[in-house]
């Protein structure tokens, strides 16, 4: 049983593709987190719960007889307004405060969301069926669910659209200006309050897309949001803020690393391995930074 992956190298192809496809989806959630972290200096603990809420929107459509894939269009629209409302209700009161307060506030939001979803949608684990079928490669030895390919493609398309929007549009530029220096942006006439609300809305919308994709690729339950928060947090830590290519690469990298850790170390260590990698990266970064400082002296 040891190192099956080396005995059957075709598994490497399977593992790589699985890791990358899932990594892209996680990168989308992480990008939302990086965006609002960069702009508003808020670590959103409720990120995963926004994802799950987005998923339930798609699931509700599925129950109503609409194909759940339409969720990737409907869910972000609804979630944008949910995010906007959340900002107006809670986040605007903590945005300039200590990081700890925003963590506490979003933690509270997370709990409320979990309980509300549990109340509305019930505590059963649910799935939405896309019936997309399977792509088989290499004489059926590598099989990829089309729903996963669909979710990766949708994630990439939305990411590209967002990058263009941030570069070209007025609001996009305002967001980037606010991220660089909120005070200066304010002096130059940017309505930072509106920028913040929009940023939080965009983040929620990204979560909505990811949630709809998760409804057709994985499973939904009111209390499974936290792993998504933790995963996107990790991706952002590795990639740094406000850098989409880095977020994408770090998302895919972590996905790949996790799949290979599963084959080589065993399934029980795959999440542990990712955390070890995170510790290693943080230590390495610190080490590099301290070297730089010495050099500057």
């Amino acid at each position: 049983m040891d190192f099956l992956i080396f005995k059957a190298p075709i598994l490497m192809v399977q593992a790589s593709l699985d890791g990358i496809l899932l990594g892209i989806l996680f990168a989308l959630i992480a990008y939302g987190m990086a965006l609002q972290w960069g702009v508003m200096n808020i670590i959103n603990i409720a990120q995963g719960d926004l994802v799950i809420l987005g998923g339930y929107i798609a699931y509700t459509m599925y129950l109503a007889g609409i194909h759940p894939a339409w969720g990737v269009i409907v869910s972000p629209i609804i979630m944008f307004f949910v995010g906007w409302a959340l900002y107006k209700l809670v986040i605007n009161k903590v945005v300039d405060r200590d990081l700890f307060i925003s963590i506490l506030a979003t933690f509270g939001i997370a709990i409320i969301f979990q309980q509300l979803m549990n109340f509305i949608f019930g505590a059963d684990v649910v799935v939405a069926q896309s019936e997309y079928g399977t792509t088989m490669l290499f004489d059926n030895s590598v099989t990829l669910p089309n729903s996963k390919i669909f979710s990766a493609v949708v994630s990439i398309l939305y990411a590209i659209a967002l990058v263009i929007y941030m570069k070209k549009s007025r609001l996009g530029r305002a967001i980037r200006a606010t991220a660089q220096n909120a005070r200066a942006a304010k002096i130059l006439g940017v309505d930072t309050e509106k920028v913040y609300a929009a940023t939080f809305g965009i983040n929620a919308a990204l979560c909505g897309i990811a949630g709809a994709l998760i409804a057709i690729t994985l499973t939904l339950h009111p209390y499974v949001g936290l792993p998504y928060t933790v995963r996107s947090f990790m991706i952002v830590i590795v990639a740094g803020l406000g850098n989409l290519p880095a977020v994408a690469i770090s998302g895919m990298g972590l996905g790949l690393f996790e799949e290979f850790a599963d084959y080589i170390l065993g399934t029980e260590f795959r999440i542990g391995a990712v955390f070890m990698l995170l510790v290693f990266i943080l230590v390495y970064r610190r080490f590099k930074l301290s070297k730089k400082r010495e050099y500057l002296k």
Partner: protein, 413 residues
């Protein structure tokens, strides 16, 4: 607010206070009522199964009371249950058990939902020497701690899928089989795993994949890719409802061909409803099925229980409800045999329980587990687009033949 209203409110609250303190001081046997206590998950992540448990308890209480109640020392008593919501949280459950015992004066307890919460409550009931009959904690570790006041009407977790391995060996012409298994890392699933290890040892079978899935994980692609590469004779999966749903989804999407697939929690996951034809041929462990031929004088047969439950609550009873109802029958039987309300006498009577209920035979082993009832296996079979669970093992109750091996995905429509 004028003076009169204030006075009125004070008066009302005083009365309420008096009443509430009165009811608690008599709580163990209150007039004609025998009061049982239960912490149940009415909110939180176990809330669906918590409600199934509560419905099972309530149906049995209502039935027993209607049919004459419990006779102790020539007098008829009725059951009554005090419920608290444990929020699916073990710490809260333990607190509530203390509260039921110390403040409400409860002397007899019914179990909560899930092994984890039962584990949290058992030390408390043990400390106060309160007999507890539980119906939803199957973890083996509950029965190895030497608890003296814990009695479980259900089969322990390690028995869940042992039968499946025996079945696989039988289908293989008595020769050992190659097993691939994936279990979530929680107390229950790991106990199921121990059962498989025992069965493998007993039959000389080989375990070629032994994956332990982290709780946070909702993707099994890596495990299934390994299964594809190694082609085992049987794949065993246990990871609560999430594990069951994920496994079926990804087995179908990745076109994993295994001759036999055995799992737990198909019922709770509503597998055949949520995944339809994709779940066909999956073999599922269950504590109970309405078609079994057990009988008792309160609910009659399983089929009748199914009908009555549907009429009362509007949905077909999952086994979680059936076993919860059985717990009350056990309590009634024990009270009548003890012919006393003394906690230790009731416990001794529970210990010597030997009875048949619609849910199955009940006889407690030295650790408190039910040793008289085998687990059953059903297989999901579909006709057109509607899928149903058909009992296939043990052969005594099998309504349908076990379909083996599972056709390859390329041959399935």
């Amino acid at each position: 607010m004028n003076k009169l209203t204030k006075l009125f409110i004070t008066f009302i609250s005083a009365i309420t206070l008096m009443l509430s303190s009165m009811s608690s001081s008599f709580a163990k046997v209150d007039g004609e009522y025998i009061v049982l206590g239960a912490a149940i998950s009415l909110t939180g992540k176990y809330s669906s199964n918590g409600v199934h448990t509560q419905n099972g308890y309530n149906l049995a209480v209502e039935r027993i009371n209607k049919m004459g109640g419990v006779e102790v020392q020539g007098k008829k008593y009725k059951f009554e249950i005090i419920y608290y919501d444990d929020e699916s949280n073990p710490k809260r459950a333990a607190q509530l058990a203390e509260r039921l015992i110390n403040q409400d004066g409860v002397k007899y307890m019914l179990g909560p939902y899930s092994s984890g919460l039962t584990k949290a409550i058992a030390p408390v009931t043990e400390k106060y020497k309160i007999p507890m009959v539980e119906a939803n904690g199957a973890s083996r570790s509950l029965f190895t701690k030497g608890y003296k006041y814990l009695f479980a009407v259900l089969s322990p977790a390690n028995q869940y899928l042992e039968v499946a391995i025996d079945l696989a060996v039988e289908k293989n012409g008595g020769k050992p089989v190659r097993i691939a298994q994936a279990f979530e890392q929680d107390a229950f699933s790991q106990d199921v795993r121990l059962g498989i290890l025992d069965a493998a040892k007993r039959t000389g079978s080989e375990i070629i994949i032994d994956d332990k899935l982290p709780k946070e994980l909702n993707d099994m692609a890596a495990t299934l890719a390994k299964v594809k590469a190694t082609k085992p004779d049987v794949l065993v999966v246990s990871g609560h409802t999430k594990g069951a749903l994920t496994a079926i989804r990804q087995i179908a999407e990745m076109k994993v061909d295994v001759p036999m697939l055995a799992m737990t929690h198909c019922d709770a996951a509503k597998l055949s409803k949520q995944h339809g034809k994709k779940s066909e041929y999956a073999l599922c462990a269950s504590q109970w099925h309405k078609n079994l031929s057990y009988k008792d004088s309160f609910f009659g047969t399983g089929k009748k229980y199914d009908k009555d439950f549907k009429k009362e609550f509007g949905y077909a009873p999952p086994y979680q409800s059936a076993e919860s109802s059985a717990a009350l029958l056990v309590f009634k039987d024990a009270f009548e045999r003890a012919n006393s309300f003394d906690g230790d006498k009731v416990r001794d009577a529970l210990k010597t329980t030997e009875m048949q209920t619609f849910y199955g035979n009940i006889k407690f082993g030295p650790g408190g587990q039910n040793t008289a009832k085998p687990m059953i296996l059903f297989q999901v079979r579909c006709k057109g687009d509607t899928c149903e669970n058909k009992v296939v093992a043990p052969t005594k109750w099998a309504s349908d033949k076990f379909y083996h091996p599972i056709p390859k995905w390329s041959e399935r429509s």
